[in-house]
C-alpha cells in the first residue's frame, strides 16, 4: 500500500471521529440542536439544563467511548502480537476476570458478610465499584507479572492467564449463587458495561492513566515489530523479550484494568479492532497498526455508543451487547474480504 493511501485513510478516520463525536453529542433523550452544542462547547451559556446535559453527561460519555475504543484496541493488538495468537485480547491475562471478582465481592459479599463489606461499601460510596474492580485487577496483574518473570515462554503464560480467568469466574459464580436477587442484578448490570457512569471526577483519574498506558505502547513499537519474527529472531536483533513482555503486561493492565473498573468489561472491541486495522491497512507493522487501532477503535466505539441510544426512546441498550451485535458482522465482512488473518498469523 502506498504511503499516500495510508495518509488518506488516517485523515479519513480522524474526520470520522470528529463527525461521530458531534453526532454522539447531538443524539439523546433530550434533543439539542447541533449549533447550540458547538456554542455550549465553546463556553457559551445557552440554557442551564442543556449545558448540564452536554457538559456533564454527554461529553464525558463520548470521551469515555473514545478512550475505551482506543485503549482496549491497543491492548488487544499488543496481546495478539505478544502471544502470536489471533484470538488474544486485552482480557486474555485475566485482568477483567480479576476486576469482576473484585466487583462481585464488593456487591454480593456484602450480603453474605454484611459487617465488613457493608462498612467498606458505605465508606467508598460511589467509588466502591471502581476501587473494588481496580483491587481485583491489580491482584491478578501482580500474580501474572510475577509469573511472567519466572516463565520464559509466552504460551505457558497465556494458559496461566486463561486458568486464572476460569478460577475467578468460578468464584464469581459461587458468589452469585448465594446472593440476593437485588445484588445479583446490580452485579449483572455492571457486567453489561456502561459508558455513562464516568463523571468528570472519575475522568480525572481514568483519562491520565489510560493515556499513560497508551503512550507506553507507542514506545514498544520497535520491540513489537521484532516480535513478529518470533521470539528467537527478536532476541537475535537485540530485543530483550522478557523486558518487552513485562512492559506490555504493565501497559495492558493499566489500560484494560482501569477501563474495566470504570465502564465494566467491554468485550469484543479489543479482539476485533486489530483485525480490522490489519485488513484495512494491509500490514503487520506496528508503526502503522498502533495509530490505526487507536483511530478505528475510537470510531467504532463512538458508533456503538450512538447506536445504543435507541432513537426516540428513553432506553439505552447495554454497550457490551451493542459492540458485538453491530460490530461483529462488520468485522466478519472485513476479514472475509481481505484474508488478512491468515496472512498475519499463518
Amino acid at each position: 500500500m502506498q504511503n499516500k493511501t495510508k495518509i488518506f485513510l488516517f485523515v479519513s478516520l480522524m474526520i470520522l471521529i470528529a463527525v461521530f463525536l458531534v453526532v454522539d453529542l447531538v443524539l439523546g433523550s433530550v434533543s439539542i440542536p447541533s449549533d447550540k452544542i458547538i456554542a455550549i462547547l465553546t463556553g457559551e451559556d445557552v440554557k442551564t439544563s442543556w449545558n448540564y446535559i452536554i457538559l456533564n453527561f454527554r461529553l464525558p460519555k463520548a470521551i469515555t467511548a473514545i478512550l475505551v475504543g482506543a485503549g482496549l484496541s491497543v491492548s488487544g493488538l499488543m496481546m495478539q502480537t505478544l502471544f502470536r495468537n489471533p484470538l488474544a485480547g486485552p482480557y486474555v491475562l485475566g485482568i477483567s476476570s480479576g476486576a469482576s471478582l473484585g466487583v462481585a465481592l464488593m456487591v454480593m459479599a456484602s450480603a453474605i458478610l454484611p459487617g465488613v463489606f457493608g462498612a467498606i461499601y458505605g465508606f467508598l460510596g460511589s467509588w466502591a465499584l471502581v476501587v473494588s474492580a481496580i483491587a481485583g485487577a491489580s491482584v491478578i496483574f501482580v500474580i501474572i507479572g510475577m509469573a511472567s518473570i519466572r516463565i520464559s515462554d509466552s504460551v505457558s503464560l497465556l494458559i496461566i492467564g486463561i486458568m486464572f480467568g476460569s478460577i475467578t469466574g468460578a468464584v464469581v459464580n459461587i458468589l452469585q449463587y448465594f446472593s440476593d436477587p437485588e445484588q445479583l442484578q446490580s452485579f449483572i448490570v455492571w457486567t453489561f458495561g456502561s459508558l455513562s457512569g464516568v463523571t468528570w471526577n472519575e475522568m480525572h483519574l481514568m483519562a491520565p492513566v489510560v493515556v499513560i498506558g497508551l503512550l507506553m505502547s507507542f514506545i514498544l513499537i520497535k520491540p513489537l515489530d521484532a516480535l513478529l519474527l518470533g521470539e528467537n529472531y527478536a532476541r537475535g536483533v537485540g530485543i530483550s523479550v522478557n523486558r518487552t513482555r513485562i512492559w506490555v503486561i504493565i501497559s495492558t493492565a493499566l489500560v484494560a484494568g482501569t477501563l474495566t473498573a470504570f465502564t465494566g468489561p467491554i468485550a469484543f472491541i479489543g479482539v476485533a479492532v486489530p483485525h480490522m486495522a490489519r485488513a484495512i491497512f494491509g500490514t503487520a507493522s506496528h508503526k502503522v497498526l498502533l495509530p490505526a487501532v487507536v483511530l478505528i477503535g475510537a470510531v467504532l466505539m463512538l458508533v456503538c455508543d450512538i447506536l445504543s441510544q435507541v432513537p426516540g426512546n428513553q432506553t439505552t441498550l447495554p454497550i457490551n451487547s451493542v459492540t458485538a451485535i453491530f460490530g461483529g458482522p462488520v468485522v466478519i465482512w472485513v476479514i472475509l474480504r481481505s484474508r488478512s488473518v491468515k496472512a498475519s498469523f499463518s
Binding site: K222, D225, G230, V237, G238, I239, S240, A284, S344
Partner: protein, 339 residues
Amino acid sequence: MTDNYFKDILETKGLSIGYKQKRSEDLCLLSDLNLTIRRGELVCLLGPNGSGKSTLMRTIAGLQTPLKGKTLVEGVPIRERNFSEIARLLSIVLTERLQVGNLSVYHIVSLGRHPYTSWMGRLSEKDESMIKWALEQVGLWPYVNKFINQLSDGERQRVMIAKALAQDTPLIMLDEPTAHLDLPNRVEIMRLLRNLAKETDKAILLSTHELDLALQAADIIWLMSKNSDLKIGAPEDLVLSGSIEQTFKNKSFNFDRKSGNFIMNYQKKQIVQLVGNDVMGFWTQRALSREGYQVTCEKTGNCSIHLKEDEMVWEIHKDGEVTQCRSIHDLLLGLNKKL
C-alpha cells in the same frame, strides 16, 4: 603482520556445553572446546540428528549458558553483554518458518538494523544503504516491496540472510538454513553463503546434516557425533581420515570415500558381468546394484550385459541367447524374467 586483521572472529575458550540438571549431575555433551573461526571462513557444523548441534549453536550465540568456559567474538566475551550488544557481534538465521505474512521484504530486512537505531526505530541514510546493499547481495532488491508471503521458501531464506547481513556483524550463524528447501535452492543458498564469506570477510557458521553440501562448500567442518569428540578439519581431511565414515556409519548404507556419496547396502542376489563403460555404464551399474545384482567387469557365470552406446541398446547374453533391450527399465524386467 597486523594482528588485527588476522585475528580470529570467533574463539571459544575451554567451552563445555550441556544442560544443568536440578537433582543429578550436569549433562555434559562436549567439554573443553577451543574452537576458532577466521575472517572469510565458512564453517559447517555437521552431525547426525541428536548429536548436539543446536546446543553448541545456542551456546555460542549466548542463548544458552555454557557449563564452563566462554565464547569470544572479536575478543568480546558474549555472556557478559546484553542482547543489544550481542546483536552487533553476531546475527542469526533460524530454521523456523516466519509466522507472519503481511510484512514487506524491506521491513523484515530493516529489523536487522534494530541494534543501531533509537527507540523510535527511525532508519538513517546509512541504515537504508545497508538494507539496500544486503538485499542486493542476496539478489532480492527487485522484491523489496513484496510481502513475505508472496515469496518461495528459498527466497524467504534469502530474505533472512539479508536481514543478517544488514545487521552488519562479524559473525553470522545459521541453524540448518537449507532444511525446508529443494535441491537447487539448497545449492544456491550454500553457494551464496560461501561467496558472502569470501567477499565480505565475515565468519559464517552454519549447522547442517547435509553431508554432500557441506563437503563441497565448507572451508572447515566441525564434525559432531554422539559419544565422541568434536573433529575439526578441511572436508577432505575428514574424509581421508575416515572420520566422516565413522560418524555416519549405519548398517543400511555406506559412505563411499571415493565418490563422497552414500551407497545403500542392498542384499546381493546374483553376479552379473557388465561390458561397457562411460556414462551409460555408470547408470546401468547403479540400476543393477539397486535391483540387488552384484556387478563385475570380469567374466563370470553365464550371464553378461553388453552395452551398445551408439544405438542406446542393452544386450542380455545368457546361455548363448541374446535379448535386446531399449531402456534400463526393459533391461531390469528382462533380467528378472530370465534369472
